[in-house]
Symmetry: C2
Subunit: 159 residues, 2 copies
């Protein structure tokens, strides 16, 4: 499955913002991102898993420089809609990229296994047509990238 | 922000499989997807939000034809690692696609607002560099696509 992966990328210095236990009803996601849009905040990943008992979390990542404004906007919306908690923390994103990889469970399996072998916990996962991305602790990012690069691209040093 | 969106796409006949309350420790995601890979199951979206209290959910989507095998594989892994519940249900994925859109909170906000205006609940969200995808109820998919197409592409009928 390595033949499908053409790049390993990572982003450090991202901040993950999470709104916990929002009401899982139409209009809530719109309110959160409208508030962010009004501040011209650029958003990288947006992840929302399944809701439970009428509540759901929304998480997204922003660059460090936008994190204070993003957190303030989310605290405001969170208070308005009754989120249980709004919090931010630093995160690193590591991704494998390649045509069609997300259709192949083997690429995801190999990526997750590679991180597991290093004892790196996968905190969040998001995929698209050509990319599988994991959020991990920033202090493990360099190590993760080297291992993923060796696993998928080859033994040359990751740039 | 509509200028950034070049397509509205949707996939019906997907099945969303969810493993609830998995142990949030290294190796668990790898086990799930290794089991799926061993059955040559093709996976579309993978979404994992933040964990809580040492547990996390993993959700992914597969084509209808793979759903029985995927569910069986996940029930097996779920039992081995102590998931609270493993379940599957039909879902529709609607996406807006365009260069750089995920960097712009306005595109996400507009997409979510469009769905909210129709009273369509956004069940899950995943983004990548060029795509924002939402999982919604299949019986709302046609309506959602028409509205998103009108909002972002123009008044011509969605094909
Ligand atoms: C939680 C949030 O995504 C909500 N379900 C909405 O549709 O806006
Ligand atoms: C829940 C699962 O993703 C776990 N955190 C892992 O790293 O495998």
């Amino acid at each position: 499955e390595g033949a499908l992966v053409r790049a390993v990328t990572h982003t450090k210095g991202e901040v993950k913002v999470v709104l916990e236990a929002l009401p899982d009803v139409p209009g809530v996601a719109a309110r959160v991102f409208t508030a962010l849009a009004q501040q011209n905040i650029q958003v990288d990943m947006i992840i929302q898993g399944r809701g439970r008992e009428g509540r759901n979390d929304i998480a997204f990542t922003v660059a460090q420089d936008d994190s204070a404004a993003a957190l303030a906007a989310c605290r405001q919306v969170g208070a308005e809609v009754g989120a249980r908690r709004v919090a931010a923390e630093e995160a690193a994103k590591v991704s494998v990229v390649g045509a069609g990889i997300n259709q192949d469970a083997r690429v995801a399996a190999a990526m997750f296994e590679c991180l597991a072998e290093l004892g790196i916990n996968i905190e969040m996962i998001s995929t698209s047509g050509i990319r599988v991305s994991c959020l991990i602790r920033p202090d493990r990012a360099d190590e993760a990238v080297r291992a993923l690069h060796a696993r998928f691209i080859g033994p040359a040093e990751a740039s």
